[in-house]
């Protein structure tokens, strides 16, 4: 089985720290900024970013989870039905600077759905996108991330998998996997 490690846990830690410093550069003290992790896997990244930011700037940035299931454009067009996850946003996003957070950016369709879902909660002042992995040349929509952990060249037959130690995995890591061999 071809399962190639593309980011190990040390690199991943450095990557998250760098992304946090970039966030601080543009958001200052985060007085008007909030983080929204996209369900299901972006929420782990969002939690990690929130915790890392807390150790650097000494305060907790409001962080919520956004589920996009009901806004997706492939409902009834895919083989398996979509299962919804919880949305938990206990703050107002009206006029806030929202940082959408996901693990992997692929076709951009989830992000489009996320922006639709987010608008249902109010009109943010500004929206940015943070991803750990940006898969190059795979976009179906004109969507580009604001903050990128790493850009990766990959085939359509491959999948990028992000594993987290605190979510039942041995250690933090990012893998490139051939779908046919999963």
């Amino acid at each position: 089985m071809q399962k190639r490690l593309i980011v190990n846990h040390q690199l991943l830690e450095i990557m998250v720290k760098r992304l946090c410093h970039q966030l601080i550069e543009s958001h200052g003290d985060f007085s008007n900024s909030v983080i929204l992790g996209l369900q299901p896997r972006g929420i782990y990244v969002a939690e990690r970013v929130q915790n890392t930011l807390a150790t650097i700037i000494g305060k907790s940035v409001p962080t919520g989870f956004l589920d996009t299931t009901f806004h997706r454009d492939d409902f009834r067009r895919r083989e398996t039905p979509l299962t919804a996850n919880a949305t938990s946003i206990d703050f107002v996003i009206e006029d806030k600077n929202v940082i959408l957070v996901d693990d992997v950016l692929y076709t951009g369709r989830s992000v489009r759905a996320a922006m639709d879902a987010m608008i249902a909660y109010g009109r943010p002042a500004k929206v940015e996108l943070l991803v750990l992995i940006d898969r190059l040349y795979t976009r179906h929509l004109p969507i580009e991330p604001t903050y990128v952990g790493r850009r990766v060249n990959s085939l359509q037959s491959q999948r990028v998998l992000v594993e987290w130690q605190d979510h039942e995995k041995a250690e933090d890591s990012i893998w490139l996997i051939n779908k046919s061999e999963e």
Binding site: P81, T83, A84, N85, T87, A117
Partner: protein
């Protein structure tokens, strides 16, 4: 990824415990949608739903209609009183004509038990039973059990008594099936003439004294006397029924514990429930109505996602 085991929601009898759990979990998410500033999602925007009501309804029909609109479906409404059914058209012809207009789902209420089952064997659309005569009313049972789950955290192990006209009630039968599938303890209570003869075979307790029933239960689901379905006298007078089976605030307060009061509506105030009981803190009647929309959204969404 989970999906329902059925293509139609004809009755609670036909679905599994896992189906009910899936509907509840999906309804949790829709309830969240209903509390947003924009209470609408685009999931069913390419679906057309016909609400076909051969029998009167306010709550169920409004609730379905709202659920469909919140999911962005296109809807058409049909009621038999203003249609060609009066001119002698058969059920199958009526529905086939509606389907010829490219309708994907049918929500139907009919006075004959089994009417939606009959339709499901002859037409390709998904069917949701919104009440068939005295048989089943699955979405009502789902929202009732969902409301119990919301209040107590779970349904399993709870003692639920259904009080009133069990004989003519589709809500009672669907509720019995749903509660049993979820592991609750079920009792029925009412005048002996309004209890079906073989009700014990469903595995429910039977109690004729309403006070004893209330002392036993955690939740009392009180039903309306369905005078429109009664071709003969089952009890001497409404006054007498109310005297022996009506529930008032005084009775609720005199119990040695807090119970929860439910009613599927419409309430006949002063008959099965007095106003002070219906409006007391025991009552979750309006929560039931609120949950109805979320439950119906979940049912429609899950059926639509089954191709």
């Amino acid at each position: 990824m989970q999906e329902l085991s059925v293509r139609h929601l004809l009755g609670i009898k036909d679905i599994t415990r896992e189906d009910i759990q899936l509907i509840f979990e999906t309804a949790d998410n829709f309830k969240d949608v209903l509390n947003r500033p924009i209470k609408k999602v685009p999931s069913l925007r390419d679906i057309t739903i016909a609400n076909v009501f051969f029998e009167n309804s306010t709550r169920t029909r409004l609730s379905f209609e709202l659920a469909e609109k919140r999911l962005s479906a296109d809807i058409i409404n049909f009621s038999s009183s203003s249609s060609s059914v009066k001119k002698g058209e058969t059920l199958l012809d009526t529905v086939n004509n509606i389907l010829a207009m490219k309708v994907d789902m049918i929500v139907m209420r009919h006075s004959s038990p089994g009417a939606p089952h009959f339709l499901s064997r002859h037409i390709p659309a998904n069917i949701v039973n919104a009440g068939d005569g005295t048989h089943e009313h699955p979405t009502q049972a789902l929202l009732d059990t969902f409301s119990i789950r919301e209040k107590y955290g779970e349904v399993a192990g709870k003692k639920v008594v259904i009080i009133g006209d069990i004989l003519h009630s589709r809500v009672a039968l669907s509720n019995i099936f749903a509660l049993q599938k979820l592991g609750a303890d079920v009792m029925v209570c009412g005048p002996v003439t309004l209890l079906p003869k073989y009700i014990k075979e469903l595995g429910v307790k039977v109690e004729l004294n309403v006070r004893k029933a209330l002392e036993w239960c955690d939740v009392a689901n009180v039903l309306r006397i369905q005078l429109e379905r009664q071709q003969m006298k089952y009890f001497p007078s409404l006054r007498e029924y109310s005297l022996y089976y009506g529930i008032d605030k005084k009775m609720l307060d005199s119990l040695n514990k807090e119970i929860t009061l439910m009613h599927p509506g419409p309430i006949n105030r002063g008959v099965e429930l007095t106003s002070d009981a219906a409006d007391s803190h025991h009552s979750i009647i309006l929560n039931q109505v609120e949950n109805g929309v979320a439950i119906r959204m979940a049912v429609l969404y899950l059926l639509a996602s089954k191709k």
